[in-house]
Amino acid sequence: MITLSVNGKSRTLDVEPDTPLLYVLRDNLELHGPKFGCGLAQCGSCTVLIDGKAVRSCSLAVSKVGAGKVVTLEGLGTPQKPHPIQQAFIDEQAAQCGYCINGMVMQTAAFLGARQGNPSEREIRQALQNNLCRCGTHQRIVAAVKRAAALMGKGA
């Protein structure tokens, strides 16, 4: 049995300890925000926050999560009550197929969560450099991160 803290709730699960966190979130907890993209920590689609840091959940065994507090896309907000980052992505219409967008939102949450002040375009591009998008939505994603920073009062 493994106990995890996910989106503020304690969850105890009967899973093989080598199971990547991603499969536990998706298949056992039905949290479909994080996506399977590569299983190699190369694309970022599976990103979650653990203690505020962006982590590739496809490549982290569930047994290694320990007491870390896991937050998924669902833990940020809902369609009715989106998190400012999610609202910014909606406002900028920053998704095409949307498969990478979980990673973009979660990477942004870690990036903006760890800093003060509005990020520059260059800083945003650097922060997202290990998140891949194939549809070519990059420009809107960068705009959404800028907007999110403003919504979150990062300029203050």
């Binding site: 996506k35 190699l40 095409q96 809107r140």
Partner: protein
């Protein structure tokens, strides 16, 4: 319709408008299928149903693979019916409920399916007005419509709603091509940047992708691929996975898979399974690809254009220019590996798939399972973007076959290696062009030859499941309409373009976004730049010498203006230092029949490392009537950025047995710091037909970047991708 169980709702948060989309729960679906809803493409009822509650359900065989037609098509219907968008429900790609409007390909969803839906709506509106005229005792000409309510213009209190006229009943009408459509100047919904209904769900994790879909009793499956493309399975050691709880082997001939209760167990079993395969080394030596292409048997020649006497014109010309261009083999590179769910039992197959072509897929699955297509029901669910035929259809046939073999519902999830290694590929493309120039540098003759595989355009490519399982299938190859745009978008007096259609190609091909049109335009638009340079002419001015088409001239001028085009011949010779900057142009009339676009690339070339950065890309775009300008912009951004990636980075790698570029490290794509700023101008022509947007602008980056690099450093790049190594090699001459 009231009995339908809504399983998914998404809201247009941005505007406060509501669009409901839903996938049908199995019980409700069975009821609908049994109800025998018409799907023939000549019937209004196939496309539209007015509910008693005042909503209109619209049905399309096209699917939204991330392009935004989920809002654009409803905009077209809502406009014709004078109905608010929140009263429209859309059902996409369910083979039992939607008309077959062809695969979602070729940039045709709005242009063909949308126009068909618009005509269905216009026919319905005409019929509704006639019914209302009877009811209200006034001729249709005296009636108006607002929000689905027909009223007498002079006495607006005399009115009747669509729901009261026909709610829950059939129109029993054929599509009337003469039914009047709205005057574009009266459009209030078409032409507006309405937000997409799926984005709130996609950014909050509530949107249901195929990867998220589950059915009761379902097992997780992984297909075990051989170490060589043409290998056959000799033996399997089932005991090699006996330590993995609940995992077991499924096999038919060389088709090998594992199933398990949990997804992780299936992943582990696929990795652990010991199998012996025959050896196979049937692929060409990678370094000899182009020799292989030239040596491949030609099945036939297609003549794209043959006008005047180019041979004589070139022979008599003052100057001759010749060049050869090649474009590497590419993969689709979907972010999410392909996935599908199948439930095959009692002679029926229920299929959930992200395929761009549900109606085709129904026949493919039927062929794989050796069933009648009428016993196969395919429902579309979103996957990761496919950009052509990627692995979705193969994964679906995998799932169908495994489900049939074990008699249980099955979910197949491909791995990253499966997707990069086994999706069908964009074939290698080789073009040779020769032109003759007169003493003023004008083109007097143009001859081009293209080497690409033949296409059985109405057939689907061989599926992996049928191939390995030994199931009879047509030996078709279909890379799409890859001969289009071989004829240049300029009406030269003497020109001939011939496509040598090869009998085979090294990797199973399919179409990748902008198939052939991208590669052919790349060759044509670099070549005309080479002619301009030979003539000492400015590249924009040189193109304008030949362009007679006013809409073509307008987009080329618009792109040049947007980029503040510096009029002079290329290359520029005023730069010293390590980084050289340049600008290059490209133009196309898509398939020489529709959407016009022109682009200007700005690049920085590092002369020491050979690295190219495309810093900015300007596009001018005329697709006629614009349905949703924000959707058009998103598609153009995507076309440019994806194709800049293809141009600078992408190339399939292989050895004699298999693909070796099987992840994002070995098949790199463009990353955020490398993405150009895309600046665009949309030329809106509301009174023209709406043309495709999902592909055309993708032709621009390869030639515009090659031309910009030439402008920067005077070196001509004729081989995609333009990697630093190739730049250094070309520089060294």
């Amino acid at each position: 319709m009231a009995t339908l169980e809504t399983t998914r709702r998404e809201f247009l948060v941005g505007t406060g408008a509501l669009v409901v989309s839903f996938s049908l729960a199995p019980a409700a679906r069975a009821q609908m299928v049994g109800a025998g809803k018409p799907v023939a493409p000549d019937q209004v009822d196939s496309f539209l149903a007015v509910g008693k509650n005042g909503t209109v359900t619209m049905y399309t065989g096209k699917v939204d693979i991330g392009t935004g037609i989920r809002v654009a098509l409803p905009q077209m219907v809502a406009e014709e019916l004078d109905l608010p968008l929140d009263k429209i429900q859309l059902i996409e790609g369910d083979t039992a409920l939607t008309p077959d409007q062809g695969p979602t390909w070729g940039s045709l969803s709005v242009q063909v399916a949308g126009v068909q839906l618009r005509q269905a709506a216009a026919t319905a509106r005409k019929a509704l007005l006639e019914m209302a005229a009877q009811r209200l005792g006034k001729p249709p000409a005296d009636l108006g419509v607002r929000a689905g309510v027909v009223f007498v213009v002079t006495e607006p209190q005399r009115r009747v709603s669509y729901a009261d006229l026909i709610g829950d009943q059939s129109f029993n009408l054929k599509l009337d091509p003469a039914a009047p459509v709205k005057n574009p100047k009266d459009h209030t919904i078409v032409g507006q940047p309405v937000p997409r209904p799926d984005i709130p769900g996609k950014v909050t994790g509530t949107h249901i992708y195929i990867q998220d879909f589950r059915v009761p009793g379902m097992l997780h499956a992984r297909v075990v691929r051989p170490p060589a493309i043409g290998a056959t399975l000799q033996s399997v050691d089932e005991s090699s996975i006996k330590a993995i709880k609940g995992a077991r082997v499924v096999r038919q001939e060389s088709f090998l898979a594992v199933v398990a209760d949990s997804e992780w167990a299936a992943v582990k079993a696929a990795k652990a399974l010991k199998a012996t395969w025959s050896s196979w080394e049937g692929l060409p030596e990678p370094s000899k690809l182009w020799e292989h292409v030239r040596a491949t048997k030609i099945a036939k020649d297609d003549v794209a254009v043959d006008r005047g006497d180019p041979k004589a014109a070139i022979a008599g010309a003052a100057k001759k220019v010749t060049a050869t261009y090649d474009f590497a083999i590419h993969t689709h590179g979907s972010m999410g590996p392909s996935c599908a769910v199948a439930d095959v039992k009692a002679g029926k197959a229920e299929i959930w798939s992200p395929s761009q072509a549900p109606h085709w897929l129904r026949r493919e699955v039927a062929a794989t399972l050796q069933m009648d297509p009428k016993d196969v029901h395919v429902q579309y669910l979103d996957g990761a973007g496919c950009y052509g035929r990627n692995g979705h259809e193969d994964a679906t046939c995998d799932a169908a076959l495994i489900s049939k073999l074990i008699g249980k519902p099955v979910r197949v999830q491909w791995s990253r290696e499966d997707e990069h290694g086994w999706d069908p590929k964009g074939p290698p493309t080789l073009v040779e062009i020769t032109a003759g120039l007169d003493t003023q540098g004008n083109i007097v003759g143009w001859q081009s030859e293209l080497w690409v595989p033949k296409a059985d355009i109405t057939e689907w490519p061989r599926t992996l499941a049928a191939t390995f399982a030994g199931i009879a299938q047509k030996e078709a190859i279909n890379p799409g309409n890859i001969h289009r745009n071989l004829d240049p978008s300029y009406p030269f007096a003497n020109q001939k373009a011939v496509a040598h259609r090869l009998d085979s190609t090294p990797f199973r091909p399919s179409w990748i976004r902008t198939p052939g049109r991208m590669q052919n335009t790349y060759a044509n638009e670099v070549f005309i730049d080479e002619c301009a340079a030979a003539a000492g002419a400015d590249p924009v001015e040189y193109r304008l010498r030949y362009l007679g088409d006013p809409r073509g001239i307008a987009v080329l001028r618009a792109a040049a203006n947007l980029a503040k085009w510096d009029q002079r011949p290329s290359p520029r010779r005023d730069q010293s230092g390590t980084i050289a900057r340049g600008r290059g142009v490209a133009y196309v009339k898509y398939e020489n029949a529709r959407t016009y676009c022109a682009g200007v690339a700005e690049v920085e070339v590092n002369k020491q490392t050979g690295a190219i950065r495309c810093t900015r890309f300007y596009v001018a775009h005329d697709c006629g009537q614009i349905i949703n300008p924000d959707g058009v912009r998103a598609q153009i951004e995507g076309n440019i950025i994806q194709t800049v990636s293809r141009t600078l980075k992408e190339e399939l790698k292989w050895n004699r047995s298999r693909v070796t570029s099987v992840d994002w490290a070995s098949y790199p794509i463009l990353r955020f710091p490398e993405v150009p700023e895309v600046v665009m101008e949309l030329i809106s022509r509301p009174s023209e037909p709406p043309w495709g947007v999902g592909e055309p602008a993708a032709v621009l980056p390869p030639p515009a970047i090659s031309n910009a690099v030439f402008d920067a450093i005077g070196v001509r790049l004729r081989s995609v991708p333009f990697t630093p190594d190739r730049v250094k090699k070309a520089t060294a001459g």
